[in-house]
Symmetry: C2
Subunit: 283 residues, 2 copies
C-alpha cells in the first residue's frame, strides 16, 4: 500500500502525538485541505501526516486499516480524516482503531435532505477533469501566465482579465500562477522598474488596460530581505532602493486608481482571494 509520509517525527514524539491519516478514494486533496485546516486550530508539535489517496477497492481499504491498527497498538490512537464516498469502503475505513473523522458522511445526509435527491455515491469527482470546458480554461490560463510572465510579452494583453503590476520580488509570478491554475483567470504580470517611476503615469503598454490592473506592494525591509537572497549587497537589494520603489509604486497606484494590496505578510492564496474579491473576477 503506497502511502505518502509527509513528515517524520522523532521516536519520542511518536510516543506522545497521534499520527494523522488522510484517506480518500480520489486525490485526497479535500481530506488534506480540511484536515489541515482543522489541525491549525491546535497549535503544538507538528504531527506526522500520512496520505493514502486512491483507495478504490475493499482490499486496499483493509490494507490501510491494518497500517492504522498497527500504529494504534504501539502508541496513541491515530486521527483519521476521510473523504471516502463509496459506502462499503467508508464502512471498512471507519472500523480502524483510529479516531475516524468522516468529513464526507457527516454532511452528505444533510444535503440529501435539503436537495431531496440521494447522493450518487460515486467516488469524488471534485478534482477530476469534471467540466471539460472549465478545465481547459485553467490549462489555457497556465500557458497564458507563463507566456506573459514578468512582462515577457505584451502581445495579447487585451485578452488578459487581470494584469498584476509591482516592483520586482513582490509576489507577482506565484500569484499569477495560482490564479491561472486554480481559477482559470487569464492573468499577465508586468514589472515596474526604475524608469517607470520618472512620471506617475502607468507604463505605456498598460495604459489602455488600466481597469484590468491590480498592484502589489510590500514593506521595504521585507522586500530588501528577499532581494538580498537573490543579489546580496547590491543596490537592487538596498533598503533605500526598496523604499523608493515601493513608495513610487504606491503613488502610481493611487494616482491611476489602481487597486492594490500590501503582500508583505500574505500568502499567494490570501493575495489571490483578495484580488478575486476586489476585482470581482470569479469564474
Amino acid at each position: 500500500m503506497a502511502g505518502t509520509v509527509n513528515e517524520e517525527t522523532t521516536g519520542a514524539g511518536r510516543g506522545l502525538a497521534p499520527v494523522v491519516f488522510f484517506l480518500s478514494d480520489s486525490t485526497g486533496i479535500t481530506a488534506e485541505t480540511l484536515g489541515n485546516t482543522l489541525l491549525t486550530q491546535f497549535p503544538g508539535p507538528r504531527l506526522e501526516r500520512r496520505s493514502f489517496p486512491f483507495i478504490t477497492t475493499e482490499e486496499q481499504a483493509r490494507d490501510v486499516v491494518a497500517v492504522i491498527d498497527s500504529l494504534a497498538a504501539a502508541g496513541p490512537r491515530p486521527i483519521v480524516f476521510s473523504t471516502a464516498v463509496n459506502r462499503e469502503i467508508r464502512e471498512i475505513l471507519s472500523q480502524s482503531s483510529g479516531h475516524f473523522v468522516d468529513l464526507f458522511g457527516s454532511h452528505i445526509g444533510q444535503l440529501e435532505d435539503v436537495l431531496q435527491i440521494p447522493a450518487s455515491g460515486e467516488p469524488g469527482k471534485a478534482h477530476g477533469v469534471g467540466d471539460a470546458i472549465r478545465y481547459q480554461s485553467r490549462m489555457t490560463a497556465v500557458e497564458y501566465a507563463i507566456e506573459h510572465d514578468d512582462g515577457q510579452s505584451i502581445r495579447a494583453l487585451e485578452r488578459a482579465e487581470l494584469i498584476l503590476i509591482a516592483p520586482s520580488r513582490c509576489g507577482k509570478t506565484p500569484t499569477t500562477m495560482y490564479l491561472a491554475l486554480q481559477h482559470g483567470i487569464l492573468a499577465a504580470n508586468f514589472p515596474l522598474i526604475e524608469e517607470d517611476f520618472a512620471g506617475r503615469a502607468l507604463p505605456k503598454p498598460l495604459q489602455p488596460f488600466v481597469r484590468k490592473c491590480f498592484g502589489l506592494t510590500s514593506l521595504p525591509i521585507r522586500l530588501s530581505q528577499i532581494r538580498q537572497e537573490r543579489r546580496p549587497d547590491s543596490q537592487y537589494a538596498s533598503l533605500a532602493q526598496c523604499t523608493y520603489e515601493l513608495r513610487s509604486a504606491e503613488d502610481m497606484y493611487r494616482i491611476n486608481q489602481v487597486p492594490y494590496v500590501n503582500s508583505a505578510s500574505m500568502s499567494v492564496e490570501e493575495i489571490s482571494a483578495t484580488i478575486l474579491q476586489r476585482m470581482r473576477l470569479h469564474h
Copy 2:
C-alpha cells in the same frame, strides 16, 4: 459587502434551484473545496455559487446574513457552507434563513476530545504563510518550474526532485506548476521530440537523473485533438504522428524503467497525486 458570484443562472433556474454560499473568515478555499466536493454527489443543473471570504467582523457577518435572507424570502432556501472559526461570527452566520452546513464546527469538538486541548478559535491559518520555510520552498519551486519549463534550462537539473518527460502537449507544464505551487516540489519538465526516438535511450541530459524521471503518455486521438487546436492540419497534429510519438515514448519509459501514467482522462490534480504517491515525493 463584496462577494464574488461564480456562476449566474437564468431567472427561471433561480426560481427552482437554491443558491450556494461559501462563507469564511479566511480565504474561503477550504469551504469551496469541501462544499464543491459534496455538491458533485448531486448531479443536476449547475447551482449559482457565491463566495464571501474574509468575514472578520460581526457587522460583515450580519451583512452576509441579510443577503442570504433576502434570497430565501424570494425563492428556495440557499445552502450555506461555512468554515468560519470565530464563535461569535459562526453564531451570527448560523442564524440566516439558509440551510447552514458548518464544515468547521461539526468536527472541531471531536478533535478537542481526541487531542484534549481546546481549539484556539483564531481565524483560519491553513492558507496563510504559516510555516515560513515551507512557504518559501513553494515560492522557490514556482521559480524553478518556470526556469526549467519545457527543457528550457538543463542547468541545475541535479537540484530537481522530479523531471517530468513526455511528448509535446501531454500535460507536463500545468502538472509541474501544480506540484511546485501546492507541494513545493522542485520539478523540471523536458519534452521528448522526434530525434529522441531514434534509439530507445533517454535524452543525454536526463541520463544521470533517470531515477528522478516520470513519464506521461496519452491516447493518440486525444493528443491529436489537442495538437489540432495549436497547429491545425499539421503533420505535428496528425493521428499517425501522435501514435508514433506516444508508442515510442512508452517504449522508452519501459526500457529505462521510468514510471509513467496515461494522462488522457486525468486532471492535473489526479496526475499530481499519482506522481506524489508513486515517487514517494510528499514534503
